[in-house]
């Protein structure tokens, strides 16, 4: 039969694990930005494109994506 000490030990383990999960989730939440700057996003995309080996494909995909967005909006 499990005595009180064993129950307390298991409980303490569960509490510690729960506390750790909460801390981890808070850390993830803190790392996810609430909002992105469009300017920074576009700058980053342009910078990526400049260094990309397949620039033409990248531009083609971007134009297609823009077209789809505009088509959805109209």
């Amino acid at each position: 039969m499990t005595d009180d000490t064993e129950i307390r030990r298991r409980l303490a383990e569960l509490e510690a694990a729960s506390d750790q999960r909460r801390r981890d989730m808070r850390a993830v939440l803190d790392d996810i930005p609430a909002a992105l700057s469009r300017r920074r996003l576009v700058s980053a995309a342009i910078a990526d494109l400049k260094t990309a080996p397949n620039k033409v494909d990248g531009i083609r995909r971007g134009v297609r994506k823009l077209g789809r967005i505009l088509a959805r909006r109209s």
Binding site: I7, L11, V28, I32, A34, A35, R38
Partner: protein
């Protein structure tokens, strides 16, 4: 002025549903025009027409925008009217105003800075210097005894202004003052609580010794302008209220040190203190300013000058309209116009780009689930230790049992061992009231219970009841447990990291006695710490309450009201916004709170607080509140 000109009527156009500030300015112009011998009246139900009268429009960015006329009609109205601009260069309203001035024969601005900016755009500009009109002066009896308010602030709430005002709290908390701010989120119609217009404003200014002028700052709260707020400050001067302002431009011919006091924001507290401690200096500046704005700088003179400039222009416009020669101003503005007439504001900003919103909400929900799980574990431990999942240890001071207090202060503690002593000290320093304290510790893990017990041992004269939960149950239930044990008529809610100034409790209790229908009373709070500013700075107004939770939990509530409404809702769907939920519940039931516009409490700001966590899922939480209290006037964006 010829007799013919004297008989030309002056029509002052103002939007019927616009900002009450504009109505005040329009009223002054009518009064001053009549004083200078012109027939004048307010018009708010039609556009200006070229009927030979002087048409003054206060102000184009409001008058035309709030009407539903087509662009051609607005252009025609602009050609036969003189717009009076009031907005600061650099703001979207200034641009809007300037766009609506195109074609006008003369453009007027109430500030040198605005006039210069309009001239730069190619307009024929006249600067209308504001001054006092007879009705502005509230009759102040001799001496200062009627000036029962030391300091007044009147203005829109901006982050920069709030930060500067918070810096004045150490000087203002024990002085009678009125910090009256309003939200820019909706037009000010004059119905908002705490805001005063016309005669009520003049009386307030006549009762005040000092008015402070703080620059608005930009959207991020940084320094951006040094604009002299002529309208507000002339009203103050006409009523003998001394102006203390940050360094400004465009105040000529008023003189720094003679007609008003100038100081930097960081020197404002000391300057105000020195001034209030020097009644002779106060009286000298007050008298000089009043003499200036009611004498040589009176508005009657200024409006007479404007009308003298307007007379020949209006005659020319009228002549052109009736088939005469094309007026010279038309040629000028076709050459140097500022662009097409538009009644649109600046293009709306794109919505906030938040690609991770869904992910954040999911994580937030997981976090709440984990919190609930952790609370269950705490309940098991409590069951193991005490045979009760919801065990509460009770400690009371020797004075608790027989205390008969005016006010119960409810303090909820969760891991605030480092600051709770300061909070309890601030409660114990209260003056003019008898107080009992109910503290609920929500299973702190940092030894806060022992810290509170030590404090109780040192302050046995203060009636204190400490209820220490064995398992954490959350803020709403902690407050409700404390409220169950409150015995006084009024219950003051206080978080364990916030503070009260000594006169806070007495002043809020007085406010509730003065307004027996009010469910609760709250004061402006000085926010200190990582994000200084103001909290709870505006009066009770349900539309504002739907825009944002601007009333902090730190308020004094009638115990009977708390019992009637069942206290705080303990529901994770409103995690962190329990207080907002209570205010909304009261609003829906037609109840109200009374605001004391003084900084009587201190609100500690720090990143990582529970409210910051709530903001992670703000849009969804707002939507759930809007659905729950659907009869309230929520902004459209919150309705699904």
């Amino acid at each position: 002025m010829s007799d013919g000109a004297a008989s030309v009527p002056v029509h002052v156009f103002v939007a019927a549903s616009g900002n009450a500030f504009m109505t005040d300015i329009a009223d002054w112009i009518v009064e001053a025009a009549i004083a200078s011998g012109r027939p004048a009246n307010i018009v708010d139900d039609r556009l200006p027409i070229p009927d030979g009268s002087i048409n003054l429009v206060v102000a184009p960015h409001e008058f035309y925008v709030l009407r539903d006329d087509d662009d051609a009609a607005v252009r025609a109205a602009a050609r036969c009217s003189i717009p009076i601009c009031t907005e600061q260069p650099g703001t979207p309203w200034f641009k809007l105003s300037a766009g609506l001035c195109e074609g006008s024969p003369l453009v007027v601005d109430i500030n040198d800075v605005g006039a210069a900016a309009l001239a730069e755009l190619g307009f024929h500009v006249h600067r209308l210097r504001l001054g006092a009109v007879a009705s502005m002066g509230y009759e102040v009896p001799e001496g200062d005894e009627r000036r029962d308010i030391d300091v007044v602030f009147l203005g829109g709430a901006t982050p920069r202004r709030e930060r500067v005002l918070a810096g004045l709290a150490p000087v203002l908390w024990d002085r009678p003052c009125e910090i009256r701010t309003f939200s820019f989120s909706r037009p000010v119609t004059g119905d908002e609580p705490g805001l005063v217009f016309g005669a009520d404003k003049y009386e307030l200014l006549a009762r005040s010794k000092v008015i402070v002028n703080i620059h608005r700052g930009d959207a991020e709260g940084n320094d951006s302008d040094d604009y002299f707020e002529w309208a507000r400050l002339v009203e103050a001067m006409a009523n003998g209220c001394v102006v203390v302002t940050e360094p400004s431009i465009g105040h000529d011919p008023l003189v720094v040190g003679e007609h008003f006091i100038e100081c930097r924001a960081d020197q404002m507290a000391a300057t105000i203190d020195d001034l209030l401690n020097d009644p002779a200096r106060c009286s000298a500046v007050s008298a000089a300013a009043r003499a200036a704005v009611t004498g040589p700088l009176s508005f009657d003179t200024s409006v007479a000058e404007l009308l003298a400039v307007a007379d020949p222009i209006v005659a020319e416009v009228s002549n052109a309209h009736h088939g005469g020669e094309s007026p010279r101003w038309g040629r000028v503005f076709r050459r140097r116009g500022v662009g097409r007439v538009t009644r649109e504001g600046p293009p709306p900003l794109l919505p906030v780009f938040a690609p991770y919103r869904g992910l954040r909400k999911q994580l937030f929900d997981q976090l709440l689930a984990e919190m609930a799980h952790r609370r269950e574990l705490g309940g098991f431990r409590s069951l193991l230790d005490h045979g009760d999942a919801d065990h509460v240890n009770r400690f009371e001071s020797t004075t608790w049992a027989n205390a008969d207090a005016d006010i119960t202060v409810v303090v909820t503690v969760y891991d605030y061992a480092d600051v709770v002593t300061e909070t309890l000290d601030s409660i114990a320093s209260s003056v003019d009231v008898s107080v009992e304290i109910v503290i609920v510790d929500d299973a702190s893990t940092d030894g806060a219970v022992q810290v509170v017990q030590d404090w109780m041992a040192r302050h046995d004269d203060v009636p204190v009841l400490l209820l220490a939960r064995s398992a954490n149950r959350g803020l709403g239930l902690a407050r409700n447990l404390a409220i169950e044990h409150a015995r006084a008529e009024f219950v003051m809610i206080l978080d364990a990291d916030n503070l009260l100034y000594p006169n806070c409790l007495g002043t809020l209790a007085d406010a509730l006695h003065l307004d027996p229908a009010a469910s609760f009373a709250y004061s402006t709070l000085e926010a200190f710490g990582s994000d200084p500013g103001l909290r709870s700075a505006q009066g009770w107004y349900v539309p504002w309450l739907c825009d944002a939770n601007y009333i902090d939990a730190q308020a004094m509530i009638r115990r009977a009201v708390l019992q009637e409404f069942g206290g705080y809702r303990a529901d994770d769907s409103i995690f962190g916004w329990e207080d907002w939920d209570l205010w909304l519940r009261l609003a829906e039931a037609g109840r109200h709170g009374v605001h004391v516009p003084r900084m009587l409490g201190r609100y500690r700001t720090q990143s990582g607080s529970m409210v910051s966590l709530t903001n992670l899922a703000a849009p969804d939480l707002r939507a759930s509140l809007a659905a729950r209290y659907a009869t309230l006037p929520w902004p459209d964006s919150d309705r699904s």
